[in-house]
C-alpha cells in the first residue's frame, strides 16, 4: 500500500482530478469493451443478414440479365456491391455452371470466385461467410449467385471506434489539464492561502486576513478563518490584559507578603527578646528562690555555729575551756562550715544547665531536689512523701529535670500558701510504665480550675498575684520535658489536688 499512502499526501486537486479521470477512463473503457464485445459477438448474424439482403437485391436485379444473357449489365449490377464493403467476392453463374459475371472488392488482395458455385446455403469458413443462392423468377431457375463476405468491415468499424476512443482520450487529457488548472485555482490555491494564514496565526500574527473570494465551502472556510483570527486577537488581547492585571495583583500581594513577613520576623524577634527576658527573669526568680532556700538551709547551721562560738567564749570566761572542748567545737564548726559550703556547691550545680544528654537516675534527681527545699518546706509545714518503686535510669538533662521538679514543688507551695491549706502534703511517686519512667507530683491544694486546665502550660499564663508569677514556669517545664527530652508533661485533678505527670 505504499502507493496508496503516497497518494494520501497528494494535493486535493490531484485527488479530485484522479477521481474524475479514473471515472471517465473506466466508463470509456467499459463502454468500448461493451461495444467491442457486442460487435464481435453479433457480427456473424449481422454479416449473414447483410449478405442476405444484398444478395436479394442482386438476385432481383440480375435475374433478367441471366435470362437474356446480358453479362455486361450483370457486371454493372455486381459493381453496385462496392457500396457493401463487407462483400469481398461475388459471382453469378448460368444454369449450366459457367461464371456469368463476377465482382472482386477493390483495394484488397483476395481470391477469385470459385469456378463452380457449390451447394446453396450460407456457410462460415473461418472468418469468412459464403452464400450460394439460386436466382429464379416465377419458379423458373435462371442461375446461381455466389457471395463471399468477410469481417473486414467489423475490423474497420472497430478501428473507427479505436480512433474515436483515441480522440476522446486526447480530449479528456486536454480537459483534464484544463480541469487541473481550474481545480488548482479554485481549490488548491485558496486552501494553501488558508494554510499559510493558519501558519502565520500560529506564528503569532493575529492581524492576518484572507480575502473571501467565493461563497462556496472554501469561501466559508476563509470567512471562518478571518472570524477565528479576529476572535483570537480579541481573546489574546483580553488574556494579556488579564495577565497584566493578575501580575500586578500578584506583585502587590507579594509586596504585602514581604512586609507581613518582615513584621512577623520583627514580632518573632520581639517575642524571642521577651522570652529571653522572661527566661532571664525566671532565672533570677529561681536564684532568688535558691537564695531563700540557701538562707533556710544555713539558718540552723549558723545558729549551731553561733552556739559553738559562744560556748567557746563562755567556757573561756568561766575557765572551763579545755583543749578537748576547743578541739571538739572547732571540729564541729568546721563540719558545719563544710556542710554549708556543700550546700552552695549543690545549688551551683543545680543552676548550671547540662550541656549534653547523660544517663541519670530519676530517684537521685528527686532526692537532690527535695533535699534543696526540704528545710524551707518544713518551716512552712509542708510534708513531702517520696515513694519509688525501682530506680529509673533515663537519658536526658538531669539539672533541667530537677528544675522542672523544683518548679512543680514551688507551684504546689504557692498554692498551699494562697489557699491556706492545713496538713499540706506533696507526694512524689516514680515507677516504670511501658518502658518509660513516670514521675507524678501530687498535692492536696484543691487542684486546678477546670476552665483553665488547658491553658496552664501556655506562656505568660499565670493565676498568681501581680508581681508574684511570671507565667513562664510551666511553659518552660513543658518545653524542657517535651522539646528537649522527648517526653510528656500533663496535668489532671485528683481527689482534692493537682497531679502533674512526667513521662520520659
Amino acid at each position: 500500500m505504499p502507493a496508496f499512502r503516497r497518494a494520501h499526501n497528494w494535493p486535493i486537486q490531484r485527488k479530485l482530478l484522479l477521481i474524475i479521470l479514473s471515472t471517465i477512463v473506466v466508463s470509456l473503457v467499459l463502454a468500448m469493451a461493451g461495444i467491442f464485445t457486442y460487435e464481435l459477438v453479433t457480427y456473424r448474424d449481422r454479416l449473414a443478414q447483410e449478405v442476405t439482403e444484398v444478395g436479394g437485391f442482386i438476385m432481383a436485379n440480375s435475374a433478367p440479365t441471366l435470362a437474356f444473357d446480358d453479362a455486361q449489365t450483370a457486371q454493372e449490377i455486381l459493381l453496385t456491391l462496392s457500396g457493401s464493403p463487407s462483400v469481398a467476392v461475388a459471382a453469378l453463374y448460368t444454369m449450366d455452371g459457367r461464371v456469368f459475371a463476377s465482382y472482386i472488392r477493390s483495394g484488397q488482395p483476395t481470391i477469385a470466385p470459385p469456378p463452380m458455385p457449390g451447394p446453396t446455403g450460407t456457410r462460415f469458413t473461418g472468418r469468412q461467410l459464403e452464400q450460394v443462392r439460386t436466382v429464379h423468377k416465377k419458379g423458373h431457375r435462371l442461375g446461381t449467385l455466389y457471395l463471399r463476405a468477410d469481417t473486414a468491415t467489423v475490423y474497420a468499424r472497430l478501428a473507427g471506434y479505436a480512433g474515436i476512443l483515441l480522440a476522446v482520450s486526447l480530449a479528456i487529457g486536454g480537459g483534464a489539464f484544463l480541469l487541473q488548472r481550474l481545480l488548482k485555482r479554485l481549490i488548491s490555491e485558496p486552501l494553501l492561502r488558508l494554510s499559510s494564514m493558519a501558519e502565520s496565526i500560529a506564528g503569532g500574527d493575529l492581524t492576518t486576513h484572507v480575502p473571501v473570494e467565493s461563497a462556496d465551502e472554501i469561501g466559508q472556510l476563509a470567512a471562518a478563518f478571518n472570524h477565528m483570527s479576529q476572535e483570537l486577537a480579541h481573546s489574546y488581547a483580553q488574556l494579556e490584559m488579564r495577565v497584566q492585571e493578575r501580575t500586578e495583583k500578584l506583585t502587590r500581594a507579594l509586596q504585602e507578603l514581604h512586609s507581613e513577613t518582615e513584621e512577623r520576623i520583627r514580632a518573632v524577634e520581639e517575642l524571642r527578646k521577651r522570652e529571653q527576658l522572661l527566661i532571664q527573669q525566671s532565672r533570677l526568680a529561681a536564684m532568688g528562690e535558691m537564695l531563700a532556700n540557701i538562707s533556710h538551709q544555713w539558718r540552723q547551721p549558723l545558729n549551731v555555729l553561733g552556739l559553738k562560738v559562744q560556748e567557746l567564749g563562755l567556757s573561756y570566761k568561766y575557765g572551763s575551756l579545755s583543749e578537748d572542748l576547743l578541739d571538739d567545737n572547732i571540729a564541729k564548726a568546721m563540719e558545719i562550715i563544710q556542710h554549708m559550703s556543700q550546700t552552695i556547691t549543690d545549688f551551683q550545680d543545680y543552676l548550671t544547665p547540662n550541656k549534653e544528654k547523660t544517663e541519670f537516675s530519676v530517684d537521685q534527681v528527686i532526692a537532690r531536689t527535695v533535699s534543696l527545699i526540704k528545710e524551707n518546706f518544713k518551716n512552712q509545714n509542708i510534708r513531702i512523701d517520696i515513694r519509688s518503686t525501682g530506680d529509673q535510669q533515663i537519658m536526658g538533662f538531669p539539672n533541667e529535670y530537677g528544675q522542672v521538679l523544683l518548679n512543680l514543688f514551688m507551684n504546689a507551695r504557692d498554692a498551699f500558701i494562697e489557699r491556706g491549706v492545713r496538713d499540706a502534703r506533696i507526694t512524689v511517686q516514680s515507677w516504670s510504665e511501658n518502658g518509660k519512667a513516670v514521675t507524678t507530683i501530687t498535692d492536696n491544694a484543691g487542684g486546678v480550675r477546670e476552665e483553665i486546665l488547658d491553658n496552664i502550660f501556655d506562656a505568660y499564663f499565670t493565676t498568681k498575684e501581680l508581681g508574684k508569677g511570671t507565667g513562664v514556669g510551666l511553659f518552660m517545664s513543658k518545653n524542657i520535658i517535651e522539646q528537649n527530652m522527648g517526653g510528656l508533661l500533663s496535668v489532671r485533678n485528683v481527689n482534692g489536688g493537682a497531679e502533674f505527670r512526667i513521662e520520659v
Binding site: 436485379n61 435475374a63 444473357d69 459475371a101 472482386i104 423458373h140
Partner: protein
C-alpha cells in the same frame, strides 16, 4: 483496380464457350419463355392460378421443339399451352403471340387484327421498327451473333401488360418504333 477486375472477368468469359451449339431460334425460344417471367398479365387474362398460359406462333414455326422445351410445363402456376396458327384472327386466347417472318408482308394487317387483345406480340421481322410502329411490342434484333430485343413499352402498357422494370434494363431499347 476496378478495371483490373473487369479484365479478369472478361478473361474468364473469354475462356467459356458462348452459345456454342445454341441455334438462333433456340435462343429466341428461350427468350420468349423468359419474357413470360418478367411480364405480368392482368388478372382478367389469367383469372385463376391454374388458368392455362397460351403461347401462340402465327405463320411458319421456326422453333421446332425448342419452344416447348424452353417454356416447359408451367409459367409460374399456370400450365403452358402452345398453339400454331395460320392466321392471326384465330389468336383468341393467346397471351403471347410470336409473329413469324413468314408473315412479314402482312405485318400491318396481322397487328391490326390483334390490336384489342391482351397479348404480348413478339416478332423477329426484318424491320423491327416498322413492326413496333404498328403496335408490335417486342422485336428481336441481332447484335453481331448475339440476339437482343427492343421493347415498345408504350404499346405493352396500352394492352394492359406490366413489364418488369429490370427487363427494360436489359432490352436494347424501350422505345422501339419511336424516334426513328
Amino acid at each position: 483496380m476496378r478495371r483490373v477486375a473487369v479484365v479478369i472477368i472478361l478473361l474468364l468469359l473469354g475462356y467459356t464457350p458462348v452459345h456454342a451449339e445454341a441455334t438462333e431460334y433456340q435462343v429466341k425460344a428461350a427468350m420468349l419463355a423468359h419474357f413470360a417471367l418478367f411480364i405480368d398479365w392482368p388478372p382478367a387474362a389469367l383469372p385463376t392460378a391454374d388458368s392455362p398460359f397460351v403461347a401462340c406462333v402465327v405463320g411458319e414455326d421456326p422453333f421446332g421443339s425448342w419452344l416447348k422445351h424452353e417454356l416447359g410445363e408451367r409459367v409460374g402456376s399456370h400450365p403452358v399451352k402452345i398453339r400454331y396458327l395460320k392466321k392471326a384472327e384465330a389468336a383468341q386466347e393467346c397471351h403471347m403471340i410470336f409473329i413469324s417472318r413468314s408473315e412479314q408482308g402482312r405485318l400491318k394487317q396481322v397487328l391490326a387484327s390483334l390490336e384489342n387483345k391482351v397479348a404480348l406480340t413478339v416478332s423477329d421481322a426484318r424491320d423491327i421498327s416498322y413492326f413496333c410502329r404498328h403496335g408490335g411490342m417486342i422485336g428481336f434484333v441481332m447484335e453481331g451473333r448475339k440476339v437482343r430485343f427492343n421493347l415498345n413499352a408504350e404499346a405493352a402498357a396500352k394492352a394492359g401488360l406490366k413489364i418488369d422494370s429490370k427487363l427494360k434494363r436489359v432490352s436494347g431499347s424501350t422505345l422501339c418504333g419511336e424516334g426513328r
